[in-house]
Amino acid sequence: MVYITLISLFFGVAITAAIVYFFFKYRRTHPEQLGVPIHGDMRLETAWIVVPALLAMTMFAWGAVVYVDYRRAPIDTLDIYVIGKQWMWKAQQPTGLKEINELHVPVGRDVKLILASEDVIHDFSVPAFRVKMDVVPGHYNTMWFRPTKVGRYHFFCSQYCGTNHSLMGGWVTVMEPTDYAAWLSGASEGNENPVLAGEKLFADKACITCHLSDGRGRAPSLNGVYGAKVLLADGSTVTADEGYIRESILDPKAKIVAGYQPLMPSFQGQMTEEQILNLTAYIKSLQSQPVPATGSGIAPATGKK
């Protein structure tokens, strides 16, 4: 940042100074006067193609490092779901605690936000943390940050989303970890636990009739599937992350698990983003359950990476 500013300032000031200097130094002194005919200089042209190009590459490299780091979240993060809809933000803490236009996070911990939209494109932006990410309907985007200072900071919707775009914001509250824990337990009462809600949905939507946990159902057992590699009918594998689970609920035919028929109906239009999150939370909670020997979609651990 400082680097780019300095280089820009240098060129900005140098060229402006040159223009101003030439402007007065070489002003026309009598009306018939001509300028000195200089047509060009190959060495100069080469220099001012090559030097800016090299400088630009260093800027690019710096920005690239920051960006790649930003796009790749660390492993052990505190995952919070954020849903944007016209014109409010809903956040859901790992315990299921829900907030509207507020977001509480502990200081010094890597926080990953998993962003979903119910309608149009939004953008979750926290200027004080120097982070933002578009919230695109139809798939999840993620962003992460590590708050370093306790306090309250603005967040905004930064992608124009309709009438009350400018009101779609709120506050991030960064708390000491102990305060955060206390806040979570204090405020949690009366809130639905997403795992329990997901478990209920799993039964209500009749998922349970096919996805038997022992692997003998018409659909693969979901025990331990989250985060694992799943073997698909076309021979490829895919990591079962939030995005995969979401897609499998809304468009089950997109990726068929090897050995199974495309029987599952689509739940497109029948579940809100929030319900999908609850189901996902439930499926995540099955991560620690025993995986049946057969009837699981998980790819066998071969020699491949």
């Binding site: 468009d251 089950p252 035919k253 109906p265």
Partner: protein, 217 residues
């Protein structure tokens, strides 16, 4: 428009006038490439997202009508090329005959196309209008096959629109040709409308495999 193929004021020679018109037509066609290109881009992405659904949906359109239409359109390109040749060598009667043949083939193409559209109408395959892929199809199958048919209608519809414009131009050419306007020295309109007609043919050459022939087996 040109009456007798006179030289317009802004040009110095007939040769310059002819070359200018030809270059103008080619530049226009390059615009058309990118115009259709946007649709091909949309098609490419959606097909790569839903390969199986696209294949399934593609199987419901009538391959034989499409194949016959391909042959009809290529034949019309041949007659158009022959028309250009007739004008170049000064065979005025032949020119008219080939132009009429091209027009007839173009109309046959549009006729077959409308039969196809009618089939789609009967099958409830017109997007946004009582759409139903097949009885009992679930939400996502309906949505994604509808994407295919949206593209099918957008692409073939835009192509058909170009055909209709081309047919109009041909009508004008035929009128001028009957009046004996075109000579080996002056046949720019025949050549340029010929270029346009061939371009429309090329678009179809791509549409046919992309829409009708997705993993037919």
């Amino acid at each position: 428009m040109h009456r007798t193929g006179e030289l317009f004021g802004q040009y110095k020679t007939m040769e310059q006038q002819r070359e200018t018109a030809s270059l103008g037509m080619w530049v226009f066609l390059s615009t058309e490439v990118l115009f259709f290109g946007g649709m091909f881009m949309t098609y490419t992405l959606n097909r790569s997202t839903y390969p199986d659904i696209f294949s399934e949906a593609s199987k419901t359109i009538n391959l034989w009508l499409g194949a016959v239409n391909t042959i009809v359109l290529i034949a019309s390109s041949l007659t158009m090329a022959m028309a250009v040749w007739s004008s170049q060598v000064g065979k005025k009667k032949l020119l008219t005959i080939f132009l009429v043949a091209t027009l007839i083939l173009g109309c046959v193409f549009l006729g077959i196309k409308s039969v196809e559209y009618h089939e789609k109408y009967v099958e409830h395959h017109i997007p946004g209008w009582n759409y139903q892929f097949e009885p009992g199809a679930d939400v996502s199958t309906n949505a994604h096959t509808q994407l295919f048919f949206s593209l099918y209608f957008a692409m073939t519809g835009l192509h058909a629109l170009h055909m209709i414009v081309g047919a109009g131009l041909l009508l004008w050419l035929i009128r001028q040709s009957i009046r004996g306007r075109f000579t080996p020295e002056y046949n720019t309109p025949v050549e340029n409308i010929g270029l346009y007609w061939h371009f429309v043919d090329i678009v179809w050459i791509f549409l046919f495999p992309l829409l009708y022939l997705i993993d037919r087996h």
